[in-house]
C-alpha cells in the first residue's frame, strides 16, 4: 500500500503540468528581487580576477577597445559587467575606444557612457580619452578592417573626423598594435576577436559573455583571453571588485534561489523517473 501511494506520488510529479514549474520559478526568483536576502556571492573566480588584475596593472592612458555585441536579450547579463568594467578603466585613467558589432548594440554603449561618465559625445574628455565608433557592419570583417587601420571608419558615431582627435595623436601604429586590451561584451564565443586582434597583433582579449557561451571561451583562456566575466555572476563579481554593487549584485539572491529550485526539481524529476522505470506506461 505504501509503495503504491509513493509510486503514485512519483507519477504525479512526472505528469505534473509544466506550468506549475514556471509558477514555482517565477515565485522563487521574484521573492528575493522584492525582498533581498543578502546572500554572499562567494569567492571571486580567477577568470574575473584575471581581467581585473590585467586592467589594474596597465600603464595609464592605455588604449582599450570595448566591443559591444550585446543584444537586448544578452544585455541583462552583460551590461552590468560592462558598466562595472568601465568604472574600473576610467578610474585607472585608460582610454576607451567603443565599437558596436551588431545593429542593436549602439544604445548600450550610449547608456553605459551616460551612466558612467554622465554624458556621451558632449563629455569634455570625448575625443581625448573616449571615442565611440558606433556600429561597424559585417562583424568579423568589420573588426579585421578596424584592427588593420584605426581610421578605417574615418568618422566616429557622431560624424566627427577621427584623424583630428587627440585620442589617436600619440599612437605610433594606428592599428591594433596600439591597443593593450580588447574587451568583448555579448553573446558569442569571442573567438572572432581572438582571431582578428589577439593572434595577428598580440593584443590580448578579455570579455563579459552570456553564461551560455562561457564554456566556449575556456579553450582560449588564459593564453589568448586573459580573463572574462561569466554572465550575471561574473558581472556581480566585478561590481564587488570595483566596490560598486549594482544590478548584477542585486540579482544574485534571485539567481541563487532560482538555481536551487531548478536543482531540486531536477532531483525530484530523476527520482520520479527511476521509481517509475519498471512500470508499464499508457492506459488500456
Amino acid at each position: 500500500m505504501g509503495t503504491k501511494s509513493s509510486r503514485s506520488l512519483y507519477e504525479t510529479l512526472q505528469n505534473m503540468d509544466v506550468r506549475y514549474v514556471y509558477l514555482v520559478v517565477l515565485l522563487v526568483v521574484s521573492l528575493p528581487i522584492l525582498y533581498p536576502l543578502g546572500l554572499p556571492v562567494g569567492t571571486i573566480s580567477k577568470e574575473t580576477l584575471g581581467l581585473y588584475n590585467y586592467i589594474d596593472e596597465l600603464p595609464p592612458r592605455s588604449v582599450i577597445l570595448l566591443i559591444a555585441d550585446q543584444s537586448p536579450a544578452a544585455a541583462a547579463e552583460c551590461q552590468p559587467g560592462m558598466i562595472a568594467n568601465m568604472y574600473h578603466i576610467i578610474a585607472k585613467g585608460h582610454r576607451i575606444l567603443f565599437y558596436a558589432s551588431r545593429t542593436d548594440a549602439p544604445p548600450f554603449i550610449e547608456d553605459a557612457m551616460k551612466q558612467v561618465l554622465g554624458r556621451s559625445s558632449d563629455h569634455p574628455d570625448y575625443g581625448k580619452l573616449y571615442v565611440n565608433l558606433g556600429f561597424i557592419p559585417q562583424t568579423e570583417v568589420g573588426l579585421a578592417g578596424l584592427a588593420a587601420d584605426v581610421f578605417f571608419t574615418t568618422t566616429d558615431a557622431y560624424g566627427n573626423d577621427l584623424r583630428s582627435m587627440e585620442f589617436f595623436q600619440d599612437l605610433p601604429n594606428k592599428n591594433a598594435r596600439d591597443w593593450k586590451l580588447a574587451i568583448y561584451y555579448g553573446a558569442s564565443a569571442l573567438d572572432w576577436v581572438v582571431r582578428q586582434v589577439t593572434d595577428p597583433y598580440g593584443c590580448p582579449t578579455g570579455g563579459g559573455v552570456a553564461a551560455v557561451l562561457s564554456s566556449r571561451v575556456y579553450p582560449y583562456y588564459p593564453h589568448s583571453v586573459i580573463g572574462f566575466l561569466t554572465g550575471l555572476r561574473g558581472s556581480a563579481e566585478y561590481e564587488i571588485l570595483v566596490r560598486r554593487p549594482g544590478e548584477a549584485a542585486a540579482g544574485m539572491d534571485a539567481q541563487s534561489l532560482g538555481h536551487l529550485a531548478i536543482i531540486i526539481m531536477i532531483v525530484l524529476g530523476n527520482i520520479g523517473y527511476y521509481a517509475s522505470r519498471g512500470k508499464p506506461r499508457g492506459g488500456a
Binding site: 506550468r19 514556471y22 520559478v25 517565477l26 526568483v29 521574484s30 528581487i33 522584492l34 536579450a73 544585455a75 541583462a76 547579463e77 545593429t103 542593436d104 549602439p106 558606433g134 556600429f135 561597424i136 557592419p137 559585417q138 568579423e140 570583417v141 579585421a144 571608419t153 574615418t154 568618422t155 558615431a157 560624424g159 573567438d191 572572432w192 581572438v194 582571431r195 582578428q196 589577439t198 593572434d199 595577428p200 552570456a210 553564461a211 551560455v212 557561451l213 562561457s214 564554456s215 579553450p219 593564453h223 589568448s224 561569466t230 554572465g231 550575471l232 555572476r233 544590478e247 542585486a250 540579482g251 534571485a254 539567481q255 532560482g258 538555481h259 531548478i262
Partner: protein, 219 residues
C-alpha cells in the same frame, strides 16, 4: 517623466508580459507582442545599417573617390532578390559578402582554432591541464570510426564519452544560469520601473479571466 517615456515604458512592459503569457498558452497577446518585436527589431536594424553605411561611405564620396559609388550599385543589386527573372543578379553581392566573410575567417582560424589549440593543449604544467589532455584524446577516440573499437580503443572511447557528458552537463548548467539571468533582468524592469509595475495586476486579472474562460469552455 515625459509622456513619450511613460508610453515607451508601458509598451515595453506590455510586450514583456505579452511574451511571458506564452508560458500559460499561445494567445492573442503573445502573437501581437511577438510580431511587434520581430517587426520593430527588423525595422530598427535596417535603419542602423543604412545610417552606418552612409556614415562610412559619405567621407569617401566627399573626397571625390567615385569608385565608392560601385558599392552603392552593388548594394542595390540585392533588390533583384524580389525579381523572378533577374534573381540571379542577387547572387553577385551575396557571393562577394560571403566570400569576404569566409576569406577573413579561414585565413586566421587555421592558426587560432587549430594550431594554437593543439599547441596550448600539449603544454601540461598541472593536474588540470593533464585532465584536459586526457579529455581531448579520449573524446577524439569516441568519434574515431576508421578501426573497430576493441581493447584500448574501446576503453578510451568509453572514457571519452564521460568527458563529453561532463562538457554537455556544464553547458546545460550555464544555459539554465543564462535563462534565469534574463528572467531576473525582465522582472527587475517590471517590478522597479515606474509605471511598468501598474501593468502587473492588469496582466494577472487578464490571466485569471483567461483561465476561467478556458475552464468554462471545457465544461
Amino acid at each position: 517623466m515625459a509622456l513619450t517615456d511613460t508610453m515607451t515604458v508601458l509598451l515595453a512592459a506590455a510586450i514583456t508580459l505579452g511574451l511571458f503569457s506564452y508560458l500559460w498558452k499561445e494567445n492573442l497577446a503573445f502573437r501581437i507582442a511577438e510580431h511587434a518585436y520581430v517587426g520593430a527589431a527588423a525595422g530598427y536594424g535596417a535603419l542602423i545599417l543604412a545610417e552606418s553605411a552612409w556614415r562610412l561611405l559619405s567621407p569617401q564620396l566627399a573626397k571625390g573617390l567615385w569608385y565608392w559609388y560601385l558599392t552603392v550599385l552593388l548594394g542595390l543589386v540585392y533588390l533583384f532578390f524580389f525579381s523572378g527573372e533577374y534573381f540571379w543578379l542577387y547572387r553577385y553581392p551575396t557571393a562577394i559578402v560571403i566570400g569576404a566573410d569566409i576569406g577573413t575567417f579561414v585565413a586566421r582560424s587555421i592558426k587560432t582554432q587549430f594550431l594554437e589549440q593543439i599547441r596550448a593543449t600539449t603544454i601540461v604544467t598541472n593536474v588540470n591541464e593533464a585532465i584536459v589532455v586526457i579529455g581531448v584524446i579520449t573524446g577524439l577516440f569516441y568519434f574515431y570510426s576508421t578501426m573497430e573499437r576493441k581493447g584500448v580503443l574501446e576503453g578510451a572511447a568509453k572514457v571519452g564519452i564521460y568527458f563529453l557528458m561532463a562538457g554537455f552537463g556544464a553547458s546545460f548548467g550555464v544555459t539554465v544560469m543564462a535563462r534565469v539571468s534574463l528572467l531576473i533582468g525582465r522582472l527587475r524592469f517590471l517590478y522597479f520601473t515606474d509605471p511598468a509595475y501598474y501593468l502587473i495586476p492588469v496582466a494577472i486579472i487578464l490571466l485569471i479571466i483567461g483561465i476561467f474562460m478556458e475552464r468554462s469552455k471545457k465544461t
